[in-house]
């Protein structure tokens, strides 16, 4: 109980995005975009010039921010920082992997499904039957 993460409850939390241009533009049309007084945005547009370091920094920044409740990340971008995404296990912000135009969603790579799939492995079934 002492090691459980605190759940943040929030009245107006933001949705952050790390995705390709079209996905980000689409969600900005839906009113998700936020620019604070320091001109910091809640999104990172990933293109061919974006480095892995920039993606890592943006991910770390978004999961540390108190005002962000959900982080949308294109699955192909999440694959570039898979070790970071899979090691994240807090309830808020929720990390949701989404498809992109050129990379359809693959449940096999989803970090949440990877976490729970071991329940279907032969080891866990055998140990449950003992």
């Amino acid at each position: 109980m002492a090691n459980r993460a605190q759940i943040r409850t929030s009245n107006s939390a933001l949705i952050a995005m790390i995705a390709d241009e079209d996905t980000v533009v689409g969600f900005l049309l839906a009113g998700v975009g936020n620019v604070d007084l320091r001109r910091k945005t809640n999104y990172l547009i990933v293109d061919s010039k974006t480095t892995v370091k920039q993606i890592e920094d943006a991910f770390k920044e978004f999961i540390a921010r108190e005002d962000i409740a959900v982080v949308l990340i294109s699955q192909y971008v999440a694959n570039m920082i898979r070790f970071l995404v899979d090691s994240y296990n807090k309830p808020v912000p929720a990390i949701l992997e989404i498809p992109s135009k050129d990379h359809p969603y693959d449940p096999a790579h989803d970090s949440v499904l990877s976490r729970v799939k071991y329940l279907f492995s032969t080891e866990s079934v055998a140990s449950g039957r003992r």
Binding site: M1, R4, A5, I7, R8, T9, S10, N11, S12, A13, L14, I15, E21, D22, T23, V24, V25, G26, F27, L28, L29, A30, G31, V32, G33, N34, V35, D36, L37, R39, T41, N42, I45, A69, V70, L72, P91, V92, A94, L96, I98, P99, K101, P104, Y105, P107, D110, V112, L113, R115, V116, L119, S124, S127, G128, R130
Partner: protein, 235 residues
């Protein structure tokens, strides 16, 4: 002699009665243990079912999200084709200070004090104090507008209440349309209908994403319970 013979038989009867009592107690304890096991198994089954249900919902919603996003991308590509690539571009995005119009409300799941399950609610076009996700506010604003309605006849009261509800919902819709237009105005005053359609598709995608977030939360909660039980049975 006869008294001595009676004593052992009385002792035998008492011993047999005590044994019978002990036997009955053991049976009662065993029945209670079986009942307890039954309850635990029932809870375990319920947790497993909840986990499987939420996993199924998660996968179904992910599939639905893919379809909605595909439609949105297609509409955005059509808008870019008709308006020109320079008009539907991230270069035009506003980098001045502005708050998000669509936000989330995060609450802890009620019921259990130590519950780790959180609930997300989407508040679309919530700027300018117009919170579409909060129905309670619309009702209280109607009461503020017409306090004198309480003193009129019941049928008249009902008609006027319905009219005021319609008026309030029209006002809310007008506000939402204004917010949508404000969001579209980043790409110019006159925009392609495809861009408006793309906006609606991505709004639908947002609603699906919030459902996915809630399903994910339920799935991880159920997974923790099932995992604890498996961990307990291993030890």
């Amino acid at each position: 002699m006869e008294v001595e013979q009676e004593k052992p038989s009385l002792e035998n009867v008492e011993a047999r009665q005590q044994e019978k009592q002990r036997g009955e107690e053991v049976v009662v304890v065993e029945e209670e243990e079986e009942q307890q096991q039954g309850v635990e198994e029932g809870e375990e089954n319920a947790n497993v079912l909840q986990f499987m249900d939420s996993m199924d919902a998660y996968l179904t919603l992910s599939h639905s999200l893919s379809s909605t996003l595909r439609q949105g991308w297609l509409e955005l590509a059509s808008a870019r084709h008709s308006m020109g690539a320079s008009r539907v571009n991230t270069v035009l995005l506003d980098h001045k200070f502005h708050p998000a119009a669509t936000t989330l409300l995060v609450t802890r799941d009620e019921g259990k004090v130590d519950s780790m399950k959180q609930h997300f609610t989407l508040c679309k076009w919530a700027s300018s104090g117009n919170e579409k996700c909060s129905l309670g506010e619309a009702k209280s604003s109607q009461d503020k507008l017409h306090p004198q309605l309480r003193h009129r006849g019941s049928s008249q009261l009902y008609e006027e209440k319905t009219a005021s509800e319609h008026k309030a919902s029209h006002e809310v819709d007008d506000q939402v349309q204004k917010e949508r237009s404000k969001s579209l105005s980043v790409f110019g005053t006159l925009v392609s209908p495809k861009l408006r359609a793309a906006q609606l598709s991505f709004e639908t995608a947002l609603e699906t994403l919030v459902e996915i977030a809630n399903t994910r939360s339920a799935m991880l909660c159920a997974f923790d319970k099932v995992n604890k039980k498996l961990g307990g049975s291993k030890g």
